[in-house]
Symmetry: C2
Subunit: 343 residues, 2 copies
Amino acid sequence: MVKKKKVSILDIAKKLNISKSTVSFIVNGKARERRISEELTEKVLQVVKEMGYKPNHLAQSLATGKTNSIGLIVENISDSFFSNIASLIEEKAYNSGYEIIYSSTNDDVAKTKSLLRMFRERQVDGYIICPPIGVEEEIRALIEEGTPVVLFDRHLPNVAADYVGTDNQESTYAACDFLYGQGFRHIAFVTLVSAQSQMQERLAGYQGLIAAHGLESYLLEIPYQLRDTSAIERIGAFLEAHPGIDAVCFATNYLAVRGLQAMQRLGLKIPGDIAVVAFDDIELFQLYSPPITSVAQPMEEISNTLINILLQQLQAVRLGSKGKKVIIPSRLTIRESTRKVST
Amino acid sequence: MVKKKKVSILDIAKKLNISKSTVSFIVNGKARERRISEELTEKVLQVVKEMGYKPNHLAQSLATGKTNSIGLIVENISDSFFSNIASLIEEKAYNSGYEIIYSSTNDDVAKTKSLLRMFRERQVDGYIICPPIGVEEEIRALIEEGTPVVLFDRHLPNVAADYVGTDNQESTYAACDFLYGQGFRHIAFVTLVSAQSQMQERLAGYQGLIAAHGLESYLLEIPYQLRDTSAIERIGAFLEAHPGIDAVCFATNYLAVRGLQAMQRLGLKIPGDIAVVAFDDIELFQLYSPPITSVAQPMEEISNTLINILLQQLQAVRLGSKGKKVIIPSRLTIRESTRKVST
DNA sequence: ACCTTATGCTAAACCGGTTTTTCTTATGTC
DNA sequence: GACATAAGAAAAACCGGTTTAGCATAAGGT
């Protein structure tokens, strides 16, 4: 139970009566480059192995200024979309020698600021951020410092950061247009009260379709705080208040889940009484009865793009990010919930 | 775009023509204790604020040996169970000033060892680990070093680590017993080929019930590698091969999902043709049609217990963990899928 | 024989803090 | 007036590495 003292580079040096710089060079594979003899190199590596020397990462980071860690800031790690992204990013990062430090914002500005501060103090090498509105200053500051940053899911106006996201507006339009094509004419849109870019884009997609065909708009906006608790009642009340609605497009996966529960409670049959489309394809939608048509974001591609852009920035000779926006189109996965039932 | 130089403690000291130790004491609130004059204290804090000085966390960690970070090693962060635990733990940790570095093992021993090595080099202060079999040595080594460690979900034989888990055997027995009580007599158990403690315990729970009532055993064990890909076919074939089965207990949430898909394909009605119980309560089970009875692990309690035990170890004066096992009982959530249908 | 260059390694500064030790000066006590 | 003590702050060692500059010695060129 006694805390064994870890072997340091100095211990190795002393053991062989050489200087620690020599050990450092050898351990870092710079023996040849520094013209250190084969013989000594061998000996040092031998002792390193014997004594089980592992470099102290903190000391290394302090000296080099690189921590080999990436800060991943998501809205909520327990959300299927984010946990999948996290899983994919982690694997990629790990393969490139980076570790992930993650945290959930819950779209809380104060918490996010505090997280950014913590990450900054920890000197993470780069950031992958799903930003709430209100942290523009902080992110701009990071970028100006030359720190690699990529935003995803939503971007921030007036922040020239690299960004990876999906074609929210187009794919929402397409989803609603598909409903239209199936013959539905009273299409509702259930979304969050949110100024976030991705939500605004999705809303614009819906409104675009409404305008294009001169349909009546049925819009329900739910406050973020109520997305779990009372969303079911809200949606239920909304559907009861507008019995004419024959199809609903949900702007997020969790809203769709609440919506399905509301429909169950009201005894509405899908798609007979009402058709359903959801944004984000979660496992539930495939298994639900009936299976739910949804807009599937290509998570693997998004994750790959994110990590690639970040790694590129990390390697780059500080050119500063140019605010490159990469849009990865979503795919509409058509299932039973949008089948037109002959009346 | 020019990398602004961060202000260091030395910058502050120089500015005021004092020593950096004085600054350090003041910044760390030890001014009084170190008998530093009110006057100087004020001045220093003023300059600290003006220059926007933030201590370098790496340097602090190097000097103190504390990194204020916790390594969280789960099987797969994209699994709902683990991502929920992660989310809850992160929040708690954050409130105690700790950050989480996480990683998924995918039950790969080599990867886990490499992760443990990385975390160790990074000097994380403590570990929360869902361990695959095969890392006993490494974990024992951590504990012997005096590093705080808590295992969860499954424990390792011969590793005297603190552990938090659920009553796998009892709750599986209870789930199957509930099926028995509903009148089902041909109860199958679908599990993984796995020597992990939690899987063995669940299996034992099933076998206990079978033995208690002298029932016929229907056991299907699926290799971990096939849990996604071909599990549907496997389960389907199994059910077809044993048409007498009137109820199935699934040992994990994802096996249950595959099982439900298999049943869909075979056109089996739940619970009319076959009853279903699953381990772990995921959102899908509540919304599935019919809703699926499941064994719900109390995630919040598990997370709280985990972080509390770890924080306790972190504060403790190195007594070494005593291999305390905390078992938190699961709750059977009864839903439609296990209703006895009169024949 | 002398200068140059290559070889092989060491010394020392540095990264940015924490913490123990030491020093100076003022004050109080007998 | 001598001496102990306290106040206030500086100095220095340390954490464990990286990296630049430098110093011997040997080999090669003329």
